[in-house]
Symmetry: C2
Subunit: 134 residues, 2 copies
């Protein structure tokens, strides 16, 4: 069911500093920062040959990553995003397997304009999983 690892997301307290770290110390290619006000984050993508790392800093008062950063002030691995071909079929399969989908179970429009769902970390080895339909 799951396909490519679309990205690994790292929550960071300072996006410019994080981008500079990946660019200067790790010699990686980092794209321009983009504000995503509807998602409460500013992001920049590290482009790797086979996947991407999404660096995310909080944006606005109610950022969904604020609580994570208060627990992990230096930043930390936040979620994995796997691609699926049909997100509603994936959801139905997951629910039948006893896994929990966050929210009301209806796909939302994700940061890349495509349908996404998040799965409960307690059902997936303590890791938050995003599914993105591609």
């Amino acid at each position: 069911m799951i396909g490519r690892l679309n990205h690994v997301a790292i929550a960071v307290p300072d996006l410019a500093a994080a981008a500079a770290r990946y660019r200067d110390a790790l010699g990686a290619s980092v794209g321009e920062a983009q504000a995503l006000p509807a998602h409460g984050v500013r992001v920049a993508f590290v482009d790797l040959p086979n996947s991407r790392v999404e660096l995310m800093e909080p944006l606005g008062e109610d950022s969904p990553i604020a609580a994570f950063l208060s627990r992990n002030p230096a930043g930390g691995l936040h979620h994995l995003c796997y691609e699926v071909e049909d997100i509603r079929a994936a959801r139905d399969h997951l629910l039948a397997a006893g896994a929990r989908v966050l929210g009301d179970g209806e796909p939302k429009t994700g940061a890349h304009g495509r349908p996404v769902l998040f799965l409960h970390p307690k059902d997936f080895l303590g890791t938050l999983i995003e599914l993105e339909e591609v």
Copy 2:
């Protein structure tokens, strides 16, 4: 400098249950479990079209992931592994950039038989990074 994302590692309390979760709920292909006594872990790889997820459970009394699992009993994202072409050149570049390499700075033989180094999480946004020469 960094190349492909070789794998994302997830520390898990029960490898068989974790492998079944990825296989059954997420419909992924999971390889056979392998004991790596020299590294204090048992692992199984989830094969994705573009990368891999390494599921790791502790093996033996002094497993390097035991402390992580005592803080995160359900499991959690443990590290990212990036490929580099020349691990000593990568190390020298990192040290010049002010980043810390764990241990004595000499590459060790990693879980896949290739030279590896680990970088200090405090220098990389709270994420443990493994570099593997390929």
